[in-house]
């Protein structure tokens, strides 16, 4: 359904050209969840924002590549057409629920907006639909809460409202950028359960951006690991988590603590990611990689297939 091919998003600033997204390709089918993981600054969010045409402008622009939704390019759409795509077919949940709601509009207005704009519902119909949506997200007494303002809601409730807005117009694709980092564990569990239920019922495709592997394990069918603007490994979740092939994926998995694992000492990854304004000529992970060879300094590794739908870009796999 969504096909991203060799996407490059570059920033032009006084420091030169920053290759934030540097040749990213992936696909996402109906009813499927793809997890996008990596350290901050690796290009996850810019990739997501460029899909809905909201990457920061004029600082950055899509220099090459293709984004297709159901076989049609969305890069050539006019602003007006793109707005329609954003409302009706793709929606996005941003990281911070406390700042993504308008403080002066009632909850009902905000949840109902996509319905009135994109589904042509009148006031009464949209009101009923909003009540139903809020109820599905376990907001108590939705009939009265509808007329409240965001500050009257707790953080967890606000995030559920943001979830309700993003699902209101019944989109085909949901992009969720760390949707649960601001939530408490119990509220997070409830939110994820709801998202799964909606997905099952409507065949929603989800692009899930997170750095939390426990969420990846629970939510995603496939995972793509990003490093310095490139996808370095991608594969089915269970396989990638149990037998990671790229040294970066391995290092990342060994560096995060887990409730399931206990107190065995963690391996931290030394150094820090390269600047996007000054990427190494060869493999971008080479300076931090414990398996680095001469050839890694010379040229960026090709993508090697390891198994069914599982591939990684590392010379070790040749």
């Amino acid at each position: 359904m969504l096909e991203v091919t060799n996407l490059k998003v570059h920033f032009t600033t006084r420091q030169g050209t920053g290759r934030a997204v540097d040749g990213v390709s992936f696909h996402l089918d109906r009813g499927e969840t793809l997890g996008l993981v990596g350290e901050s600054g690796c290009g996850k969010s810019i990739t997501a924002l460029s899909i809905i045409g909201l990457h920061p402008r004029p600082a950055s622009r899509i220099v090459s590549g293709e984004i297709e939704l159901d076989g049609e390019s969305i890069l050539t759409l006019s602003k007006r057409e793109m707005r329609k795509v954003r409302g009706e077919r793709i929606s996005m949940i941003l990281q911070d629920p406390l700042t993504s709601l308008n403080p002066v509009l009632t909850i009902g207005k905000q949840v109902g907006e996509p319905l009135r704009l994109h589904r042509n519902m009148d006031k009464a119909a949209s009101r009923n639909r909003v009540i139903e949506l809020l109820r599905q997200l376990h907001i108590p007494e939705p009939e009265t809460k509808l007329d409240d303002h965001p500050h009257q809601f707790s953080g967890g409730m606000r995030q559920r409202v943001v979830g309700a807005i993003s699902l209101a117009a019944d989109p085909d694709l949901l992009i969720a950028d760390e949707p649960t980092t601001a939530l408490d564990v119990t509220i997070q569990a409830a939110f994820l359960a709801h998202l799964k239920a909606v997905q099952r019922a409507r065949g929603l495709a989800i692009l899930f951006i997170t750095h939390d592997f426990s969420i990846i394990a629970k939510m995603c069918d496939r995972v793509a690991v990003m490093y310095a603007g490139k996808i370095v490994e991608t594969g089915p979740t269970a396989e990638l988590l149990s037998s990671p092939q790229h040294p970066y994926t391995k290092a990342l998995l060994e560096s995060v603590p887990s409730v399931d694992r206990g107190t065995e000492r963690l391996n931290s990854i030394g150094g820090s990611p390269p600047s996007i304004y000054d990427l190494p000529k060869g493999c971008t992970f080479e300076p931090r990689c414990s398996y680095a060879m001469d050839r890694c300094r010379e040229s960026y590794p090709l993508q090697f297939d390891i198994g069914d739908d599982h591939s990684a870009s590392c010379w070790l796999l040749e």
Binding site: A193, T263, I269
Partner: protein, 339 residues
């Protein structure tokens, strides 16, 4: 199990904040927010005790009372046998030097106008004046302890990454050879790949300097990695205290069970359980008179029809913290021997 005297003892600690009444006349309102509502625990030498719980559970307020940054409404904080509230003069200075803190956000906890060297030297300059050369040597020693070279001394906080800043905050906390460091979400503001570095550093420092940590965190994976014992807070009260391994393998309180299930990568909470859990935390302005968790608790909700007497108790009677196994305490009517 008898243990030597704790370094810090917290005894029935309460903090009630007045709410309402406007900003001009704060405290005129009649309502009280029960931020911390009767908390008792000990922190022993060389151990890491974690306080876990969701936002608003009173973890940070408890820590601030221990640090004597705010005054408890009632209850006591005992340090080396003395009530912290009674300390003054040299004893207070000793307490301030011995109990240090590292905060969540290394962007706001370091003075942007000071160089790393003077940030780390400040506690020394105030508490134990040293000749310049010795001071410099001590700062270098502290930097080395947190894995930084002397070259960083001349730099300002904005020149450092989050991980380096947190190392500087830790070096400052170590300056006066404290016996206790309160770590308030020490890694949650850091990038995933940096967290392991700081957590390993904290473990190594504890080993080298024999420090006790009181760790405040909401991320259970971090807690499991660093803790010897864990105390779970909910709505200002302790609901379960146990050795870390035991708590994660055999949680007894339904709230602890929900927290752990939510953090595991293997368990997906089902819709019904999710609906219950998603009902929001009751207001600390009007805390329930019975068990604080009853409205979200699957056991209590199931008892509503199956065992009305038990349900009644969860609603009306506040469960006490009972030791069900050596070192494992839980506040839940299910484990109350009165049944």
């Amino acid at each position: 199990m008898s243990r030597p005297d704790p370094i810090i003892g917290v005894r029935d600690l309460k903090k009630h904040f007045p709410v309402g009444g406007g900003t001009l006349l704060p405290g005129r309102g009649k309502k009280l927010l029960h931020a911390v509502d009767g908390v008792t625990f000990n922190l022993h030498a060389r151990e890491t005790l974690s306080l876990v719980g969701e936002s608003g559970s009173g973890k940070t307020t408890t820590a601030r009372m221990i640090l004597r940054l705010i005054t408890p409404t009632s209850g006591r904080v005992v340090f080396e046998g003395e009530d912290v509230a009674d300390l003054s003069g040299a004893r207070l200075k000793h307490f301030r030097a011995s109990v240090q803190a590292v905060f969540q956000d290394p962007w706001s906890s370091l003075n942007p106008r000071k160089r790393a060297a003077s940030i780390i030297a400040e506690p020394l300059v105030i508490n134990q004046p040293l000749p310049k050369a010795e001071l410099q040597a001590r700062v270098e020693e502290l930097l080395a302890a947190v894995g930084l070279g002397p070259a960083v001394m001349r730099h300002y906080p904005h020149e450092f990454s989050g991980g380096m800043r947190q190392r500087i905050a830790v070096a400052r906390a170590l300056a006066l050879n404290p016996s206790v460091i309160i770590l308030d979400e020490p890694v949650s503001a850091l990038d995933v790949s940096i967290r392991a570095q700081i957590m390993n550093l904290l473990r190594d420092l504890q080993e080298t300097f024999h420090i006790s940590y009181l760790l405040i965190a909401h991320d259970l994976a971090t807690v499991r990695y660093l803790s010897d014992r864990v105390a779970v807070m909910y709505l200002g009260r302790l609901v379960e205290v146990a050795p870390s391994e035991e708590l994660f393998e055999n949680p007894l309180h339904p709230y602890t069970q929900a927290l752990i299930a939510g953090s595991r990568s293997t368990t997906m909470v089902d819709e019904e359980a999710a609906r219950l859990l998603a009902s929001d935390i009751p207001s600390p302005v009007k805390p329930p008179s019975g068990c604080a968790f009853y409205a979200r608790c699957p056991v209590s909700v199931a008892a509503k029809s199956d065992d009305p007497t038990f349900y009644e108790r969860t609603v009306t009677e506040r469960p006490g913290l009972i030791e069900v196994r050596p070192g494992h305490l839980v506040a839940c009517h299910q484990f109350d021997p009165k049944d």
